[in-house]
């Protein structure tokens, strides 16, 4: 990671090194707040904002921080950003604020954010850090929304339910009903459903990666004959 172009940074964030699917960071909100698309989107937007702000600030200040207080300072920056965002949500998106509950302040400890601060922002210039924050944030939100959509469709047969929480009253019309709620597959909304959906998504990503690679090198598509000695 010496110098990579912006294109690389974006590709990393969105796919190759996606914080949710690959780095397995920020899992808590990813699983907890992905019951519906709207919740996911709300939290995702808040996370993007935090990531961009924190990455920018950390990059800006990277020269001035000493190692023994590095973490406290990053955490302070992030916490301030999150609290400000939280207050704003509470004021203007109160319904959503209530639904997201404790997970807004917990953005502070979203490992993806501090992880980016440590791994990227503290070593890169401000614009690059900001782009990285954006890319990672969007990558994270993408996963969040994907899981949200999956769980919402399977679990309650709708999409964009409660959109008014995010978009105001006109959002109510956005709701798409695919089948009646009582035929929903409840498991998807329960905690196990979140884990299973996430596992499925990771597998799908692996599959796509393998396909892509397979196209590049057409021979290596079959499974190895023996279980790999040790994976996981």
């Amino acid at each position: 990671m010496i110098t990579s172009g912006y294109g690389d940074i974006i590709r990393e964030g969105l796919w190759n090194n996606n914080p949710g699917l690959v780095q397995l960071l920020g899992l808590c909100p990813l699983l907890a707040i992905s019951g519906t698309v709207v919740n996911a989107l709300g939290l995702g937007l808040a996370t993007i904002a935090t990531l961009v702000i924190s990455n920018t600030l950390v990059s800006l200040l990277r020269e001035h921080v000493r190692p023994e207080i590095r973490i406290p300072v990053y955490v302070l920056i992030i916490a301030s950003a999150v609290t400000a965002i939280e207050l704003v949500m509470n004021a203007w998106f109160h319904g959503l604020f209530l639904v997201l509950g404790i997970f807004i302040p917990l953005i502070v400890t979203n490992c993806a954010i501090i992880g980016r601060a440590e791994a990227f922002a503290s070593r890169n210039s401000v614009p690059r850090a900001a782009v990285d924050g954006l890319a990672m944030g969007v990558g994270f939100t993408g996963v969040l929304v994907a899981i949200g959509a999956l769980r919402e469709i399977v679990g309650q047969g709708s999409l964009l339910d409660n959109a008014h929480l995010l978009f105001g009253e006109w959002g109510r019309d956005l709701r798409i009903e695919i089948f009646p709620q009582e035929h929903g597959f409840l498991l998807a909304l329960l905690p196990p459903g979140a884990f299973l959906a996430m596992g499925l998504l990771i597998a799908v990503k692996n599959l796509i990666d393998a396909r892509l690679e397979g196209r590049a090198a057409p021979s290596a598509t079959t499974e190895p004959t023996a279980p790999a000695p040790s994976q996981s």
Partner: protein, 347 residues
């Protein structure tokens, strides 16, 4: 002269995995027939459909992985998983419950881990719990034997109900279903009655308890036969039933009005079939002798806790899953003392 080389031992092989599984299937037959006798065709319909689905899913997964289908199906473990799942759900459950349940049992809980032998969780119980939490309504509709008798449910009607999820014209769920003894006990205790009142109530004594006990006894018979055939070892069933009876006994002695008797706990619900057929699933249970005893004890205690204080009426399935989780850790810490070592089994 040249010969084939193969590693030792060079003896006639003993038994096979498929043979083992089929013995378990045989042992299930009497109990299953008893259930069918009391609860109608639905039981058999469930078994047949679930086994069919299970085998189908297994074949599908194996094909997707480009592995030999014949060998995998030949081990009969999918049949067994489907069968056990079918016994856990109410006889008139709609077909999608069977599909989802066997799907989770066979697709998620098993081949995703590599198939037979690798699954850390009991597939049948995963399937059952998934449908239990997803379709609690369908899963709480146990027909009462007498209700069915009144309506004289035919095989055709049963099939109709299963396939459409709706009762035939002119019938009403409320009329033909009744809470299971386990449910009734729970419901009554929740609404402040005492155990005594529940067991005395004519409804309780006259119908459900006896039927359930009969089915239980026949499963017990099958289980004992498995023990005799050395398909299972005594560790898990004995420790599970003993611990369940013990903890139930303790609370029962403390307050016989609030807590049901040990006999009730052992002979109602899924305790017997759980002890002999489900907790003993070798793949997902602990594998060391001491580990197995602890595994059984854990299931017994958790079953009691969930039954008595939990949100679900019967805890065996959850207890099994929870202890499946603990099994690898148990195995890790309960190694037998190796020959020639002092102290524990660490080499």
């Amino acid at each position: 002269m040249r010969f084939r080389t193969r590693t030792s031992p060079h003896m006639v092989p003993g038994h096979s995995v498929g043979g083992l599984m089929r013995q378990v299937l045989y042992a299930l037959i009497p109990g299953t027939l008893a259930m069918a006798w009391f609860f109608g065709w639905g039981v058999l319909v469930n078994v047949v459909l679930s086994v069919l689905f299970a085998v189908m899913f297994e074949a599908l997964m194996v094909t997707l992985r480009r592995r030999p289908v014949g060998v995998t199906l030949g081990d009969s473990s999918a049949v067994l998983a489907g069968w056990l799942f079918a016994l856990a759900i109410p006889p008139l459950a709609p077909v999608w419950v069977l599909l989802v349940g066997t799907g989770f049992a066979i697709v998620v809980a098993k081949p995703l881990y590599g198939g037979l032998g690798y699954n850390p969780f009991n597939p049948a119980m995963v399937g059952y719990v998934v449908v239990l939490v997803s379709f609690p309504r369908e899963l709480s509709l146990w027909p009462s034997p007498e209700g069915l008798a009144d309506a004289s449910f035919t095989l055709w009607q049963t099939l109709q109900t299963t396939l459409t999820g709706r009762l035939p014209e002119g019938m009403d769920w409320d009329a033909i279903t009744r809470a299971t003894p386990m449910d009734m006990m729970r419901e009554a205790l929740v609404s402040g009655q005492t155990v005594h009142e529940v067991t005395r109530s004519p409804v309780f004594g006259s119908f459900s308890q006896t039927e359930w006990e009969w089915a239980g006894n026949l499963f017990l018979l099958g289980g004992l036969w498995l023990l005799y055939r050395r398909v299972i070892t005594w560790h898990i069933p004995v420790s599970m039933l003993l611990s369940l009876a013990t903890i139930a006994g303790v609370f029962w002695v403390i307050d016989p009005d609030q807590f049901a008797s040990p006999a009730f706990h052992v002979f109602s619900g899924a305790a017997i079939i759980g002890a002999f057929f489900i907790a003993t699933d070798p793949v997902s249970a602990a594998t060391t002798p001491l580990g197995r005893i602890l595994f059984g004890i854990g299931i017994g205690i958790l079953t009691y806790i969930i039954r008595t204080w939990g949100g679900y009426p019967d805890g065996v399935a959850f207890a099994v899953l929870l202890m499946n989780m603990v099994a690898p850790t148990l195995d890790h810490y309960t190694r037998p003392r190796i020959f020639g070592h002092s102290g524990d089994g660490r080499g």
